[in-house]
Subunit: 111 residues, 2 copies
DNA sequence: TATTATGGTTTGTAACACAAACCTATCTTT
DNA sequence: AAAGATAGGTTTGTGTTACAAACCATAATA
């Protein structure tokens, strides 16, 4: 019953941080997405989107591919298999915590 | 469709932080809980539990009542109405994001 | 009377999230 | 052709903060 709470208290901040949770969740439903699309989706500034993506790339959770489309630079982002596993597990941990707590109604926690 | 993502990117860090999310979620299912109980539940150190609780108290999300039981000090923690609202809304925002993303399978986000 | 345990709080520091500044290339206007 | 403006990003500066470790007070125990 309580393992879910310990697990949560130790959640991976890299994934849990709001902006990155939004990014990874969006990417988990897309084949791929580009920089501008992600910026509009999340409302992040370019600067912060850039650093969040770099961090996810360093951690091996996303792949970033830079190309030109016509004369414009274009940054394409895709989840890696590890990234997909990480975001799925994260949501499972969150759901488990929430579900476990529900079943608890009225407990009095003293000791 | 995308509002949930913008909302998520702007989630309240005070509530979202893993340890505090666990604490608030636990408290939302308990009448009340004491320091030692919460420490065992979350696996946090005393020091960090103490500072997280202080932060939640300052923000008005929990009430803290210090008393003695026999000869031992005892710190009792309870969610305030605002705290209850905050954690419920937070879970709703998370669930909404997750649900919205699911419906999206296969979209190709470029532009 | 040390020493250990219990129940906490305070402090020092390294990480980090954001805003703002910057960069490079291409259109557009004058 | 020079000067903005726009697009698509990256780098930097700084205040916040989460954690570990040190600390404190009291009460049992050896």
């Amino acid at each position: 019953m309580t393992e879910a709470f310990e697990a949560l208290a130790g959640l991976d901040r890299l994934v849990h941080e709001p902006a990155r949770l939004a990014l990874l969740t969006a990417l988990s439903a897309c084949r791929s997405a580009d920089f501008v699309f992600l910026q509009r989706l999340t409302g992040l500034t370019k600067g912060n989107l850039s650093t969040h993506l770099s961090k996810l790339e360093e951690a091996g959770l996303v792949e970033i591919e830079k190309q030109f489309i016509g004369k414009k630079p274009n940054t394409l982002v895709r989840l890696t298999p590890e990234g997909r596993a990480a975001i799925e597990q994260h949501w499972q941990a969150l759901e488990r915590l929430h579900r476990d707590a529900q079943q608890w109604q009225g407990v009095d926690g003293r000791q």
